[in-house]
Symmetry: C2
Subunit: 177 residues, 2 copies
Amino acid sequence: MGKQGSNATKDAEVIAPFQSHVHDHGQCVADAISAAETRCAEDGSSFTPLRREVLELVWSSHGPIGAYELLEKLRDSRRNAAPPTVYRALDFLMEHGLIHRIESLNAYIGCGDPERHHGAQFLICRDCQSVAELDDKAIGRAVTRRADALGFDVEQQTVEVIGQCADCSAREPDDRK
Amino acid sequence: MGKQGSNATKDAEVIAPFQSHVHDHGQCVADAISAAETRCAEDGSSFTPLRREVLELVWSSHGPIGAYELLEKLRDSRRNAAPPTVYRALDFLMEHGLIHRIESLNAYIGCGDPERHHGAQFLICRDCQSVAELDDKAIGRAVTRRADALGFDVEQQTVEVIGQCADCSAREPDDRK
DNA sequence: TTACGTATGATATATTATAACATTCAGAGT
DNA sequence: ACTCTGAATGTTATAATATATCATACGTAA
């Protein structure tokens, strides 16, 4: 499978696993861009060079990345990029389901499955900052079940879990404060 | 029951319901303060006048409130309060489980059940900004089950649900964009 | 009384995000 | 080709949120 880091079958619950340290980075960025092209073509939205470039930068970081860090990198190719340059692109990418915002980090990350609308949950490793993107139906259902019971109409769920990933616990067993 | 807006029995799953518009506000603030005193006395931490005052302000707002809004109010009684004044107090209150931070709003809210350690989920009404605090075991379990399956060790869960509360949907039925 | 730790005061600055207005540019209709 | 329009981007300024750092106060234990 050419697309490392994604197992986007119709109802996958793990959208993007923690990144193994060895993988074809260039390929997974390229795959994300091409999925974005498809998606934007489908909804007739314009995937401009700027937006493409920002999406590439998000994917290249391969983990959550802040808007101002993106801005710095963007300036390599666009000397006069300013905060709105980046924020507008990020807004576009979020509206079109190409990236997610991680609220608890004020950061952004590529969506592992832009072809499909889905809820999302994130497991965030406090040590290596890697992130796994999930679309766990059981979590989503548990939330909506309780919300329904209270007459609350759910529009958007933010589920972000901080902890330690398997690799990092293996590396420093039981070394938690 | 003196404590309106709280049904903190041992394993309540709704910690604090949406606020009814009529309730004894003064009483519920007073109850929160007295619960905080108890809690701090128990762990030997010092519940200073400043920290008390900030907690009172958080509860008085009876909904999520931002740090700088708190700062303004705090200045009524402390002319030279500065951002660190507020942020230190907020940090203390969070560390001691007396308030929660709502990541998706950059805001703070009183914890409805400070006597007890618990996970928390929030239902946030996009119209009236009221918030319900939950401790839904099914949600928490769904999260940890999936995390376990991936070898991820959960330390902290952030679950924030945006939508429309029952009162507001009754008020403007089907008026969603 | 001194020494120490905790809390607060005070000043400056970092970080994240948006407002507002100007310019460019591609495509639709003429 | 011309012009109108709307979307995208450029540009400047500022808002909103949060932290770093050093100074001062104050209680308390030695």
